[in-house]
């Protein structure tokens, strides 16, 4: 069985398409940027929830810590945009290891409670350390230095489109990295933990170590999203590290579907789009979101992703156009369903 190169994986190609059309179809480039940032945050959550089966309410910790780390590095150390992202990655990695080590001591509902407790604690730490984080006011005046590669300016980051391009590059790199990760030996071990932790343990996997590692990787991804958000807003609000931010990330992830990384792309985009469009006409738009979440949780457990799959597989009435598209798609990517022998 030959594999196609990962760069040609359909969902990666679809991600490139999404990146290209988002700034065109959304009302503003800024909204597209915000969508991409939350897609990245949601990718971190999908790794934990979709692949390891861990429901973490602590994703806001890493989002917030990443934003603060990036902002502080830019303000106090005069770091470049890359330096800001690097600082965010390193500090969130440390936070991920600490939090991951703490919360993976327990499984199930106690694990969830521990992530919630950690999230609250980090919020109050950020709130109390006013001198560093700016407390309630947030970390103000985060600069946005131009993006340099070997002394030449790659992107000025001054225009919305320039910053969007930067976010898109970061997003595609992270997507590609996570895509390789989930199909690697390490990724398969994470799936083993999700599917049957006791069996994985009996087979010789140190399941706790794998969970901590997944937490750390998820933290880095989420932290980078936080850093981009700080650069995007030119400041790092305290709300980044609130429990409600973690909830938001989880809601996006579940809306999109946890069956594949691409679910995050759908979920993050959908959430930001819905939020921006509805909040403009009705301040109580979260009520609508609640209804949508109820519908997805009750009838569309695989999220928007499974909805899209359903349309592709079962959709009727598209006639020749549809069958042509499906054939072209299968021919291009040589999708073959393996013959299923009956037991």
């Amino acid at each position: 069985m030959r594999r196609r190169p990962l760069l040609l994986e359909p969902t990666f190609l679809a991600s490139i398409v999404v990146v290209l059309i988002l700034p065109v179809v959304l009302p503003s480039v800024a909204m597209a940027t915000e969508a991409l940032i939350f897609v990245i945050a949601s990718l971190g959550c999908t790794l934990l929830l979709g692949y390891v089966g861990l429901l973490s309410f602590g994703q806001a910790i890493f989002f917030g810590v990443g934003a603060y780390a990036c902002g502080l590095a830019l303000i106090h150390l005069g770091a470049s945009a890359w330096g800001g992202l690097l600082a965010a990655a390193v500090i969130s990695l440390a936070a991920g290891l600490v939090v991951g080590g703490l919360v993976t001591q327990r499984r199930g509902i106690y694990f969830v409670m521990l992530t919630l407790a950690c999230s609250q604690m980090f919020y109050f730490i950020a709130y109390a350390m006013e001198d560093i984080t700016g407390g309630d006011n947030g970390l103000l005046n985060v600069p946005r230095p131009p993006l340099l590669v070997f002394e030449t300016t790659l992107l000025t980051l001054r225009t919305p489109m320039s910053f969007y391009t930067f976010a898109a590059i970061v997003f595609l790199c992270i997507y590609l990295f996570l895509q390789r990760l989930v199909s690697s030996p390490f990724g398969s071990a994470l799936v083993a933990v999700r599917e049957n932790e006791d069996r994985a343990l009996a087979m010789g996997y140190n399941t706790r170590l794998f969970k901590i590692a997944a937490f750390a990787i998820s933290a880095v991804v989420t932290g980078i999203a936080g850093a981009l958000y700080a650069l995007f807003l030119n400041f790092a609000p305290l709300s980044n590290i609130e429990v409600s931010m973690g909830e938001r990330i989880i809601i996006m992830t579940i809306l999109g579907g946890t069956g594949s990384l691409f679910g995050s792309v759908l979920g993050g985009t959908f959430y930001v789009l819905l939020g921006n469009l509805l909040s403009a006409i009705w301040p109580r738009w979260l009520l609508v979101l609640g209804l949508i979440l109820i519908v997805v949780a009750s009838y569309l457990r695989g999220g928007l992703l499974s909805g899209v799959n359903w349309i592709v597989e079962k959709g009727r009435g598209w006639g020749i156009l549809r069958s042509f598209a499906v054939r072209a798609w299968s021919a291009t990517f040589r999708i073959r369903t393996p013959p299923r022998a009956q037991p």
Binding site: L6, R180, L181, S183, A189, E195, D198, R199, G204
Partner: protein
């Protein structure tokens, strides 16, 4: 499939324990009787759950490349002994040795990597993963640091992949290679249950009632599989099916109310009066 037991060490004979705590050999080879070294041993293992004594001073010695069965009525402590051997629960007192090393406090996953693999009484597979993927995961667990490779596709870990394929062939499950484990028939799931232990490349297999719930025909397949495996594996077997136990075991340990009642080769155990009493009640 009558297994000839006359060539193996039956010199151990019958030991009715509970009176003396068997001394544990420092390494596997200086055992007084028998020609094969002790692979896995428990010495004076007791386990209390609150006030309830599940295991009372149990000592067993499992010799290399033999089938050592543990039998006994329900509640005799077989599964608790199994859990102590595999590290799921630590014993309250006593020592567990594997290949001459004290592993009493070693964690489950480290024991597994030392070469002890177990199967479960209640089928415990990766229900949503394909048969081959489950086996590949089991084989991959032994590759150590290679498991932490998160950049190459998992199929490129050739060692694990080829081990999984060969175990698949050994189990005769090739036709079901790519279907989900949960869609196999019960008998096939039981075979795969043993297969997951086997694919880890362990020298010692602890099989917890491999024939549980199997039909008559499937039991024969399982019996042959276990006998085939015993040629190059040490096997500890918990089993209820007396036909299977008496046919294939080298040594049988009979447990009753948390203690070892009788230990010996099948023909000794079969005719032992205490065993009949324990199984059939006081009137015998």
């Amino acid at each position: 499939m009558e297994r000839d037991v006359s060539d193996t060490d039956s010199a151990a004979g019958t030991t009715v324990t509970g009176t003396a705590n068997a001394a544990l050999p420092a390494n596997g080879n200086d055992v007084g009787c028998g020609t094969r070294g002790v692979k896995l041993a428990a010495a004076g293992v007791s386990k209390r759950f609150g006030g309830f004594v599940a295991l009372r001073d149990v000592s067993i010695q499992v010799r290399e490349r033999t089938i050592h069965s543990v039998i006994g009525p329900n509640g005799a402590g077989k599964t608790t002994l199994f859990n102590c051997l595999t590290g799921v629960v630590p014993p309250t007192s006593g020592v567990v040795m594997f290949e001459g090393r004290d592993i009493t406090r070693m964690s489950v996953h480290r024991r597994a990597r030392c070469g002890m693999a177990r199967s479960f009484q209640v089928t415990n597979l990766f229900q949503n993963l394909s048969v081959i993927e489950g086996l590949r995961l089991a084989a991959q667990a032994k590759t150590g640091l290679a498991t932490f490779d998160f950049f190459r596709p998992k199929e490129r870990l050739v060692r694990a992949m080829s081990d999984a394929e060969s175990v698949l062939a050994q189990l005769s499950l090739e036709r079901w290679r790519d279907i989900k484990a949960g869609e196999l028939s019960h008998g096939q799931q039981r075979i795969l249950e043993v297969g997951l232990a086997l694919a880890s490349g362990s020298s010692t297999l602890l099989l917890d009632e491999p024939t549980a719930g199997m039909g008559v025909d499937d039991i024969e397949i399982m019996k042959q599989l276990v006998v085939a495996l015993s040629r190059d594996h040490t096997i500890v077997l918990i089993e209820h099916n007396m036909n299977v136990v008496l046919n294939i075991s080298t040594t049988i340990t009979v447990m009753h109310q948390g203690s070892v009642l009788v230990e010996g080769p099948p023909e000794v155990v079969r005719s032992h009066p205490d065993v009949k009493a324990a199984y059939l009640g006081r009137e015998c």
